[in-house]
Symmetry: C2
Subunit: 307 residues, 2 copies
Amino acid sequence: MSLITVGTMAFDAIETPFGKTDRIVGGSATYVAYAAINFVKPVQQISIVGFDFPKDEMEELKRRGVQLDGVEIVPGKKSFFWSGRYHEDMNTRDTLITDLNVLADFDPKVPDSYQGAEFLMLGNLMPKLQLSVIKQLVKRPKLIIMDTMNFWMEIAMPDLEEVLKHVDMLMVNDAEARQLTGQFSLVKAAREIMKMGPQFLIIKKGEHGALLFHRDDVFFAPALPLEEVFDPTGAGDTFAGGFIGHLAKSGDISFENMKRAIIVGSAMASFCVEKFGPTRLKEVNKNDIDVRIQQFKDLVSFDIELV
Amino acid sequence: MSLITVGTMAFDAIETPFGKTDRIVGGSATYVAYAAINFVKPVQQISIVGFDFPKDEMEELKRRGVQLDGVEIVPGKKSFFWSGRYHEDMNTRDTLITDLNVLADFDPKVPDSYQGAEFLMLGNLMPKLQLSVIKQLVKRPKLIIMDTMNFWMEIAMPDLEEVLKHVDMLMVNDAEARQLTGQFSLVKAAREIMKMGPQFLIIKKGEHGALLFHRDDVFFAPALPLEEVFDPTGAGDTFAGGFIGHLAKSGDISFENMKRAIIVGSAMASFCVEKFGPTRLKEVNKNDIDVRIQQFKDLVSFDIELV
């Protein structure tokens, strides 16, 4: 089954307690693609880049099975650029620079060749653009997942509420879930969000794992306790890519299969943070992923008899 | 098998975003006892109280199977008093008042009737007192667990290091593990702590669950996502009580059984936070506990085949 991923392709400058990189490829769609392509082909990318986005990165994505017909290349402008610095706890960061560049003109177009895709991952973007993609699809995908951020809650809440009515799952972090609902309790926040449209909700808690909600069911997956989180940039998008990649591979969107997909997403995210940008994601193979998934099983498996 | 628990019995005044109580029974040994007694009898308490500690609380503990021969009652002095205020996130709190009262004179004595106990839970106390209890035991228990806090790392680190050499497990929160080792990564902190003496380590992360370390093995149990955390006071001690209570019940101190014990401890802690002080712990019965443990199984169980 095919998967459309919509989001940014960008350059990032990242500073962590462990090191610094001035310019590395990033962007939500990049991370989603590098994670999902391990499970499903093709991944159909919709994004926008400037003249400066590396040709060899585009070739690398294509070589792996990512289709780029939906990636607009703007000759006279630069690619989106983000720069940030992480604090010691790696859960908080300061944004130093956001140069929208080409992103300011982004008007995603779904190529004809992408029509019929059964899975759609809407990365964090202006809600109007997310809705535009949904509306361009002739046949509604089997599963639509969206990400968003606090910024849109502040400046485009009515648009955001409209998109929420059209998606099956919202995937946000704990702070975003709280801001969206005004509820501190994540259980209460989850209930309110599921009234806004999505039947499924994933709340990402970074190093503290992720929660999946559906009706009265809840599932929790931890993050792998790592010796070092080298660079958390893209971990959330990588998680999303692994998650939807696993679902698209199997075509099964049951709650039970979403549990498995969360483990797969968590495993992919645990690789992502080991090196700067998507570097580590490009290195891992199927065996590495299987070994990591087994570590997750060992981490949470217990056997208790109620007598 | 019998279990000795050493710690405080106290009065607490607690303020949370949900309410306020001026004076409720608390103290680490109280919480440990109310949790552990569901699984093992007798629980043998070592503590100190003043003239003001309620007789009916003592009777309630005895009625449930907690032995109080080791609890010194000081006629002319007041019981230990702690007062604190929780912030909205419930993971941080300000201590408003600490009146040591009788605790300033605490010199724990192990009654002859407690000799031979196979499990020992050393609540957070001056390290010298923890060591004194260990030395008074004629036969070394099968398992010794200790709690501690940052305060002792600051003013009594050499004593703390000495106790650590005599225990099997340290149970601390994430901030304490970091302070004890100077390592931010909990995986690295765990490795260093296990070099200091304890073969086993539990790092409690509050609403984010708990990690169990032993050699190269690691196990993670989440906290139950609750609609409301009403009062987190005593949750860590309740966790400890459920944990060691389960181990003492079975007599099995394997890593596999410790995994189960963590789930039991987490289940007990999830009750503790539902009402002020130990109120909720006194209400729950075996069926409530079994239902809660089943919720934990559902929360983390997944089935993934690597193909």
